[in-house]
Amino acid sequence: MAKMTYIKAITSGLDQVLSDDPKTLIFGEDVGKNGGVFRTTVDLQDKFGEDRVFDTPLAESGILGLAIGLSLTGWRPIPEIQFMGFTFEAMDGIVGQLARDHYRFGGQKNFPVTIRTPFGGGTHTAEMHADNLENYFVSTPGLRVVTASNPYDAKGLVISAVESDDPVLFMENLKLYRSMKDEVPDDKYTVPLDSAKVVREGTDITLVAYSAEVNEALTAADALAKDNISAEVIDLRSLSPIDTDTIYASIDKTHKVVVIQEAQRMAGVGAVVASDIAEDKIMSLDAPIGRVAAPDSVYPFAQAENDWIPNSDDIEAKAREIFNY
């Protein structure tokens, strides 16, 4: 076991799947010799050859077309879309084609594509590099959407994503790439694609979050603990499907819940979670469902990011409000 950054954990997972299955292919803009603009695929071309890890022309829709066509000829593609903001260029490929193709064939053919893409605010990027765009994809039948909040899950999830015969959108948090280190096994392990995880146990209130906001929620939970408010923190890990069982078990214990996302309030994975809770668990709640989300403006100009992205203070304030309701 070694301490590994979030990004190294992903690289380690990719190394694993390339070793395990000779039909896996990594491709995208700059992923080859350069090892990706963030070095996520660093050294993989040297190790596995240009046949398995290769650059594409600069066109995201073409990259998705490539992934679908490679699936049709027996390959297991792992395309990278360099930034999640660029997925708009590949929207038909992802939503109009890939997510529907297994269904279109009446289940006859599989499209085992894992689309990796970095997202998330807080690193002062150029425009269209940091947006949380998951909402466009979680409402797409046929597509799985996962994202890790820590290095351990990042490696285990990327391996599961590639091994899955369903198309998976694997969202990599930009801010966590190098800001987070963790014990990560060198050996192979997997994290299930459709399960949330209780990352901190508590009894008074449930905080549901994903990706970087999990860490904000944990910081908020520390602050709440000082006032003897015991918060349970759940990391969704899978945004589609949502593991409601884990959330509901927690609510049955705490009877209070706050749902947190970095995306704008109107772009709502949180809204889906809140509506599920309202439908199935309202009788178990002692207070309204709380929500923490970014405001409904376009993603902010970089200098103002920290005024916009929900942080641990926002979560703590909302948790106190719901706890004291």
Partner: protein
């Protein structure tokens, strides 16, 4: 700079000459049924030429029968194919079973030739999943999002190359309108960048629903667009089945030899409406405009060549038409007898491993369906 001094670049001249290599579409039999390239025609036996004619009669009869079925309300979305028989049958017959076909919605005739049945073609039109399940696995369903099939062709071609298949290509169709799509360029360009084996067909039938070819682009030909991607291309008389077949075969040979892709523009015409769903061509084109194309009909010219050779008769053709009509009527009966579809199956096919929510919905629908 003084007027009249020599300019460093003459854009007017470049513009005026850039279509020069495309001035003479490949042709073997002209619109009057005259053989203009006897050497090429001589490469084909009478049996082969008769087979071409049979396939065109088959496709024309399929068109007429599907229009009848549409009027009777027995088909869903269907794109008429009359006028495009030489382009479609001439091209698809140049490929082998192992070649991978990526069709668009006007390409059911090629799909049936490549490895599905007429009944399944009808089921696709009616909206039934079994219309998408083929005898030949080397085929994708008809693409509705014009251009997407071009992007996907790049992946199939690269997959073929990576698998080391030496006698296999991807082949794909779109129309003149499709060449305006970004995916059209991306697909050809990716395939070219990897020098992967694919043949890209543009069936230029003059119309993208109501928008004429000249409004799609100022480029004089669609074929010349391929030059920008480093891909050789050609215009072929798309009403001349021998020319189309000959060009398609040469393109396949070129691609399987590892030379990268080819783009073929077939000059053809859509006699009928865009689709069976309410398009009325009289709103946007006149009989005067369409007449030359009807005169250049691919069946008329082939009929003349074969009749001159003494290997074809009207009586023989009439019998074939009757035989094909019966086959299509039987296929429709087969399609109409297909089992009802179940929403629970749709849910099962949405994911390989159903999500918890989908599992619940499967159970709900199965309970309803078993009543």
């Amino acid at each position: 700079m003084a007027n009249g001094s020599k300019q460093i670049v003459d854009f007017a001249k470049i513009k005026a000459t850039m279509a020069d290599p495309y001035k003479h579409p490949v042709q073997v039999i002209n619109g009057d049924g005259k053989v203009v390239d006897p050497d090429t025609l001589a490469k084909y036996s009478d049996d082969q030429l008769v087979d071409f004619m049979k396939k065109m009669v088959w496709e024309r009869t399929l068109h007429e029968q599907t229009m009848n079925f549409s009027r009777q309300g027995r088909l869903g979305f269907y794109a008429p194919t009359a006028g495009e028989e030489a382009s479609e049958m001439g091209s698809v017959t140049a490929f082998k079973d192992q070649d991978f076909l990526l069709p668009a919605y006007r390409d059911l005739p090629q799909m049936i030739q490549h490895g599905t049945t007429v009944a399944k073609g009808f089921l696709w039109s009616k909206g039934h999943v079994s219309g998408n399940q083929y005898e030949n696995p080397n085929m994708l369903f008809p693409q509705i999002i014009i251009g997407a099939q071009y992007a996907e062709t790049a992946g199939v071609a690269l997959g073929i190359q990576k698998n080391g298949d030496k006698d296999r290509v991807a082949f794909v169709y779109t129309g003149d309108g499709g060449t305006s799509q970004g995916d059209w360029y991306e697909g050809i360009n990716f395939t070219s960048a990897y020098q992967a084996p694919a043949v890209f067909f543009v069936q230029n039938n003059g119309w993208a629903i109501s928008v004429p070819r000249k409004k799609q682009t100022a480029a004089e030909t669609l074929a010349q667009k391929a030059v920008a991607m480093g891909v050789p291309s050609v215009q072929v008389d798309g009403m001349d089945i021998v020319a189309v077949h000959e060009v398609a075969k040469a393109a396949r040979d070129f691609a399987v030899a590892g030379n990268g892709p080819v783009v073929i523009e077939t000059l053809t015409y859509r006699y009928g409406a865009h689709s069976s769903a309410g398009d009325d061509p009289s709103r946007y084109r006149t009989d005067e405009e369409t007449k030359p194309w009807f005169d250049a009909d691919p069946l008329i010219r082939m009929r003349k060549v074969l009749t001159d050779k003494g290997v074809w008769s009207q009586d023989q053709e009439d019998k074939l038409v009757d035989q094909y009509k019966d086959e299509f009527k039987d296929a429709m009966k087969e399609a109409e007898a297909a089992p009802a579809q179940k929403v629970s199956d749709f849910l099962k096919w949405t994911y390989n491993v159903p999500t918890p929510a989908v599992k619940k919905q499967i159970a709900e629908f199965e309970a309803k369906e078993s009543k």
